[in-house]
């Protein structure tokens, strides 16, 4: 009996240390995201290699790379980050199928490709991106990141065609309200409010 209890306690304590190891590592990654996307991505990649069943580390690593791909870096660096982001999104998708959070990330990455070379990727990806956001919103109609990023994507194409963006402003407001209410467990995604606020400014 005593053995069993001891062993049990032992394992429990071991798994607890492991848990805190994961939490510590993820927290460190999230902190790094504020200052150094490259270091943050590396931190999440390390965690992803250790956490083989968990989609979140790969997701965050992909997010870091997407956020490095908006044209702030050189063409060659941007291309490298976009390719890296795609690999990580694929990894995350393998661990969590039909996940609207990952679809949002893919949608953003597609937008990066279009920004990178619109004449090549505009044609290839614009239809696919819209389709992806539609699928995401069907699965998660109340997810503020889905609502906000879908609305921003549609606003972008409306602007391109010289159309009114007002129809999407309501969506942005709805997303902001949902961001306010959002309660998140563990390390589930919680970002996106700032982007929605920026989009709201365009509406005004």
């Amino acid at each position: 009996m005593k053995t069993i209890i001891t062993t049990f306690i032992l394992f429990l304590s071991l798994s607890l240390t492991a848990q805190t190891g994961y939490e510590k590592a993820m927290k460190k990654g999230l902190e790094l995201m504020q200052t150094d996307l490259q270091a943050a991505s590396q931190q999440f990649e390390r965690v992803a290699k250790a956490e083989k069943e968990n989609w979140l580390p790969a997701y965050y690593a992909a997010l870091c790379n997407v956020n490095s791909s908006w044209g702030q870096l050189s063409k060659e660096k941007t291309l490298q980050h976009m390719n890296k982001a795609q690999e990580l999104i694929n990894d995350a998708e393998l661990l969590s199928e039909n996940n609207p959070e990952i679809m949002v990330l893919q949608g953003m990455l597609n937008t990066c490709w279009i920004t990178y070379d619109s004449r090549v990727y505009g044609m290839k990806l614009s239809g696919a991106t819209t389709a992806l956001y539609e699928k995401a919103i069907q699965i998660a109609p109340e997810n503020p990141r889905v609502i906000a990023n879908r609305a921003r994507w549609l606003m972008g194409s409306a602007k391109f065609f010289g159309k009114d963006i007002a129809p999407y402003c309501g969506e942005i407001d709805k997303a902001i309200a949902l961001f306010e209410k959002e309660t998140v467990e563990g390390f589930e995604p919680r970002w996106g409010k700032k982007g929605a606020m920026d989009a709201k400014k365009e509406c005004e």
Binding site: Q80, Y116, R119, T130, A131, E134, S157
Partner: protein, 714 residues
């Protein structure tokens, strides 16, 4: 019991206190330290990032054996499996990884459209937005250097070669009759909708050992992979209409497309230079089925087309002209599978089947030609690493061709059954990201003439700086005679060409310069002693010739806001003695100078793209019967200014308008001389001019459902 517990406690405490330090330095290929590298032990959270001197150091509680990984974006991952306590003072060497922007490309001879790589000259949209191309991808390719403008024909004439010397492949399988047949000065169009293709590679020489039975050029078309959205497309045009639909269910998708063209109403409105008895009409249907499989993609492509027309063909010797009628039915289908057999083995396999049925009535002669053809191909690729790849494959062509010629009452039947068996292997080697080689060899057995031919193919490329590179290519190429010729003499050997190509490429900030010089030597070309090939011709392989030239291409998308333009110039010096040429001469389809300027301007306030294309070719050779020297005279130059306007009404609707030859220049492609001289002893002649002075096109395209937008079509 107590012992066991103590033991556990001991292990635990031991583990807690025993921290091993892992340390080292990381250098790149030039022995420079690399900063910012992610170094960690796989499966743990232990790791760090290298500092300015490329140094790293971190502690771990792991003790025995581990896998150290060093990874950094833009470099290849470095892995080291070793006992942890040996991971001290490591010196690791990193290799920069290759990507589309930093790696040299084997660009000699080839143009690609549809990616961002260095060698890419055209964007997917260019195929349909080039003024003068009117949605025909061949039209857009004719603005590239290395092609001779033959606006009266519509096919691709590459570097002094005839149109038959270019072969077209869809997803690796040969298309046997890619163009609808026409006559005289009525230009043909490709049978295939440009919207079905994702990537296009056009090679004007020196291509891979994978492609055989093509003397001058190959055009490779890849159908789009799995579609992402369902949609319906409707098009209403001044010359007809089309409708298309895409469905997706699970891992399957089906796209269908149908088009009907009838030029009768158009011909009523706009005067034509030809006297049509029955205006051109055609109906085309295409379907692509795709299925995603675990490790690959299966595609089935099927296309049927029907076309007919009849005209009164003018003739200098026959005052009332003579009747020419044509009816063509064509089926083309291919099945193919691309996938991975393992991590390093890739398989591409396909089979294509074609049936072509052509009925031609010329005056009182009736010709019926039926061709059945099959192409089966298996290609394997072994990837050893990023630096070494090996391709190998086998293919088989089977062709069955029959021709019935009915003259008044008599019928002559001829035909041929033959096969070509090919095999190839090719190695692709990157010595570094700045130096690449490709060496291949193919063997072809031509069944009809019982000949075996070996064709080596070589190419190399070196980059001088991140923006510029040089490449070279050499190859030996063979192609069998056309079926309607080979049927009269099975022993005709394949024709031969050797290509030597030197290429310079510069690409920076959306500006691109491409310069290519080439020399092509022709041998064993078809010869005969009659006016045209017929059953009693004395056929042989005694012809030879050469083509040499310089191709220049400049594209600039950035210097002027919203303006994208490219300029092509080709200089061609070619002569051959072939067919029934009495002496070596420049053939009628080859012009010395070709120039194209293509411009596209986006006007944001109008949501419109406006484009203009100007094409110029120097005069075409013709034989002036009054001077009696073979092909020594030249027509006046060909010039055409084309214009188009695409207006995006909204995401779903687009209005398209185009005019070819806006200025209405009277271009002449050649002359037909009378068989008999007039009273002054002069031979009279008739101009062979354009089918119409201008061509107008108006179309309205609408995409319904799904979430597609018309940008895709622009």
């Amino acid at each position: 019991m107590k012992t066991l517990f103590t033991f556990f406690a001991f292990v635990l405490s031991y583990a807690a206190i025993s921290q091993t330090t892992i340390s080292g330095v990381i250098y790149d290929e030039q022995n420079e330290p690399v900063m910012g590298v992610n170094v960690y032990l796989e499966g743990t959270y232990d790791g760090t990032t290298t500092d300015m001197d490329g140094k790293f150091s971190f502690t771990t509680e792991e003790t025995d054996y581990g896998k150290l990984i060093a990874s950094y974006i833009g470099y290849e991952d470095f892995e080291l499996e070793a006992p942890i306590n040996e991971m001290v003072g490591l010196k690791l060497r990193f290799r920069e990884s290759m990507n589309a922007l930093n790696t040299v490309v084997l660009s000699a001879g080839s143009f690609s459209a549809g990616d961002s790589s260095k060698a890419s000259v055209l964007k997917p949209l260019d195929i349909v937005t080039t003024a003068g191309a009117v949605g025909d991808f061949v039209g857009a390719l004719q603005t590239l250097p290395g092609t001779s403008n033959n606006a009266d024909d519509g096919r691709l004439f590459v570097r002094g070669g005839s149109a038959d010397e270019t072969q077209i492949f869809i997803d690796g399988s040969r298309v046997f009759r890619p163009f609808s047949p026409t006559t005289g000065n009525i230009p043909t169009r490709g049978r295939f909708s440009p919207f079905l293709f994702d990537g296009i590679t056009f090679s004007t020489g020196g291509y891979s050992a994978e492609y055989g039975d093509a003397l001058s050029s190959v055009l490779l078309l890849n159908t789009t992979d799995f579609p992402k959205e369902e949609k319906t497309d409707i098009g209403i045009m001044s010359v007809g209409g089309n409708i298309g639909n895409t469905q997706i269910w699970g891992k399957n998708s089906l796209s269908v497309n149908a088009q009907y063209i009838n030029l009768a109403p158009y011909n009523e409105l706009i005067p034509q230079n030809n006297r049509f008895e029955k205006p051109f009409q055609s109906i085309n249907g295409e379907a692509v089925y795709r299925r995603e499989l675990k490790k690959g993609l299966f595609k089935a492509y099927s296309a049927y087309s029907y076309s007919d027309f009849a005209i009164i063909q003018e003739d200098i010797d026959v005052e009332e002209g003579f009747y020419f009628g044509l009816r063509n039915r064509n089926y083309y289908g291919n099945l193919n599978y691309n996938g991975y057999l393992s991590d390093s083995w890739k398989i591409e396999t396909g089979i294509s089947l074609a049936h072509d049925n052509n009925d031609v009535n010329v005056a009182t002669t009736k010709i019926k030609a039926v061709e059945n053809a099959l192409h089966a191909k298996l290609k394997l690729q072994k990837r050893y690493n990023n630096y070494f790849k090996l391709n190998m494959g086998v293919e088989q062509f089977v062709i069955n061709y029959n021709e019935d010629i009915k003259l008044e009452t008599e019928t002559f039947e001829t035909g041929i059954n033959h096969g070509i068996t090919g095999t190839f292997t090719e190695a692709e080697v990157f010595a570094s990201k700045d130096l690449a080689f490709k060496a291949g060899i193919r063997g072809d057995y031509y069944g009809a003439s019982d000949q075996f031919r070996v064709s080596p193919r070589l190419s190399a490329a070196i980059s001088i700086n991140p923006a510029s590179q040089f490449s070279l290519a050499y190859g030996n190429f063979y192609q069998s005679a056309q079926n309607n010729v080979q049927q009269y003499d099975e022993n005709l050997k394949p024709e031969n060409a050797q290509h030597y190509i030197a290429n310079f490429l510069f690409k920076k900030n959306n500006r691109m310069l491409r310069a290519e010089a080439y020399y092509k030597k022709y041998d064993q070309l078809l010869t005969f002693d009659t006016q045209r090939v017929q059953f009693d011709s004395d056929l042989g392989n005694d012809g030879s010739g050469y083509a040499a030239g310089l191709d220049l291409f400049w594209r600039d998308e950035t210097s002027i806001k919203n303006l994208d333009y490219w300029v092509s110039y080709s200089y061609l010096d070619t002569k051959r003695q072939f067919r029934n040429f009495p002496v070596e001469a420049t053939p009628n389809f080859a012009t010395d100078h070709n120039f194209s300027l293509v411009t596209k301007y986006w006007i944001e306030d109008w949501q419109s793209q406006i484009g203009a294309t100007f094409n110029y070719s120097s005069g075409r050779p013709f034989t002036n019967a009054n001077e009696a020297v073979f092909l020594n005279d030249r027509t006046s130059s060909f010039q055409s200014l084309d214009f188009n306007w695409a207006y995006l009404i909204d995401q779903q609707k687009i209005l398209y308008f185009s005019v070819s030859n806006v200025l209405g220049r009277d271009n002449v492609f050649g002359y037909q001389y009378s068989n008999t001289p007039d009273v002054q002893g002069q031979f009279n002649r008739r101009e062979i001019g354009q089918a119409a002075d201008r061509f107008f096109f108006v179309g309205f395209f609408w995409t319904i459902g799904g979430s597609d937008n018309q940008l895709d079509n622009l």
